[in-house]
Point group: C2
Chain length 244, copies 2
DNA sequence: AAGCTCAGGATCGTATACAATCCTTGTGCA
DNA sequence: TGCACAAGGATTGTATACGATCCTGAGCTT
């Protein structure tokens, strides 16, 4: 089912929550990134703990970690909610990405090895199959993973760490403000990126990435949205730890 | 007693630890930024809690928050230590700053109001008096605060949030790798920045900031350093909340 | 009927207690 | 003397318990 990616702990880990909390973090993050949990939803500490068979202490730690990456907003004495990025924040996030990611793409194109290329191609394959299977949430999540994979090729750990929450928040923004339900343009842009990478053309990669980010930004319909608040328990029905 | 500073929560707060932990965070952060606690030092949970008159739960939460901003590194079953940025990381951090901060400076120069200008001038005054009083740690900390103040003028919350840990980590890097104990060049660069801001010249501000960051980067002597490990108790001897 | 008050429940913040892990150190043996 | 190993202490990971705060809704007053 979800043999998507191994733990892969030691990659960019400098502030990972301890033990069990990490697993809860990953599960919740994936659920949010795949839009199985929507912005605005309440994340009750007891409920989270019980859902994953852990104590409230651990659940709380996981929620705080998610808050630090911006996926969750904690209000004192009120609890944790999936963040609902404001329109203003949506603009800021994509402006930040428009600044950072083209540079990352340039560095990646310089450092790109043959193995890296095949790895990125595999990412794109995954995206395609997700799109074909109709799982839009997973497709979007994998699209974010593609951007992160590029950052890791660029081998700039600090910028990679910076990009991670930006991409996560982009997922929230798209959940709230995306204009049409198609993500085909994504696929196309990623193909264009691959071409630049394959040619080891840093400037082309930089330019393609820049226009890709701008496209995403302009694909948003930035008007106020009401909050949707589904229930939690159904999302993790039965498989809190199903993933060898 | 503790009319130190009002909460002031809502500024850049989207993941602040709750209640008491926030105060501990602030105190520890300041101590680290002012080099009263040096990289590599162990931060025992019991000790931190007792030092600030709080339970281990709160101390732990504060340490985890600091870990998320990169000031502290937590190793499983071993505890929290003040981070010791590697040489590699030092390069990465300053490359990231060289990418982000010139853009910030440009935006700040555009958005600069007269009030902003006087506010920044006050920052520089503080720096000067700290330098003259011989308190190098505080001077360095204020220098970082100046950069953050610029970011807030630029009114780009996301990039500001990104800059915060970068500047904090820069402080650690300087503690470990700074070549000479003088920071006068800092002051000079900041004056040059002010001139560009006063003239509302975005491009000048961008260029000055860029060379400022590059100067900082090249002022580092990036060779391996041994870890210094002083004791904690002395640092906070009796004044957990003394700070006008 | 509308609005206010206040009790009850629910949820979070914090403290404490127990379990698991790691590090130290002292001892026994080669 | 040097090393292997085990017992003890120290420290972190996790669970539970208690207090504080907030939200809800019933009942009373106007």
């Amino acid at each position: 089912m979800a043999l998507i990616d191994q733990p892969q702990d030691q990659q960019g880990a400098f502030s990972l929550p301890p033990g069990r909390a990490l697993e809860i973090c990953r599960q919740l993050e994936m659920a949010i990134l795949e839009h199985r949990i929507l912005p605005g939803m309440k994340l009750n500490e007891d409920e989270v703990g019980e859902t994953f068979g852990a104590s409230r202490t651990v659940a709380r730690s996981a929620l705080q970690a998610l808050a630090h990456s911006g996926l969750v907003t904690i209000e004192r004495n009120r609890g944790a909610f999936v963040s609902r990025p404001s329109i203003r924040e949506a603009h800021d996030v994509f402006e930040a990405r428009a600044l950072i990611e083209p540079r990352i793409a340039r560095m990646a194109a310089r450092a790109m090895s043959d193995d890296d290329l095949t790895m990125l191609r595999a990412h794109i394959e995954n995206e395609h199959s997700a799109v074909h299977s109709g799982n839009k949430g997973q497709a979007l999540s994998l699209s974010g993973a593609f951007h992160l994979a590029i950052a890791e090729v660029a081998n700039q750990q600090v910028l990679t760490q910076i990009m991670r929450p930006l991409i996560s928040r982009s997922s929230l923004i798209i959940a709230l403000y995306w204009r049409r339900p198609d993500t085909t343009c994504e696929s196309h842009s990623h193909e264009a990126l691959m071409k630049a990478f394959a040619a080891r053309d840093p400037f082309a990669a930089e330019e393609v990435m820049k226009s890709h980010i701008v496209d995403l930004h302009s694909g948003l319909d930035l008007v106020e949205r009401p909050a949707a608040e589904p229930t939690l328990a159904a999302v993790f029905s039965g498989d809190p730890g199903s993933k060898t």
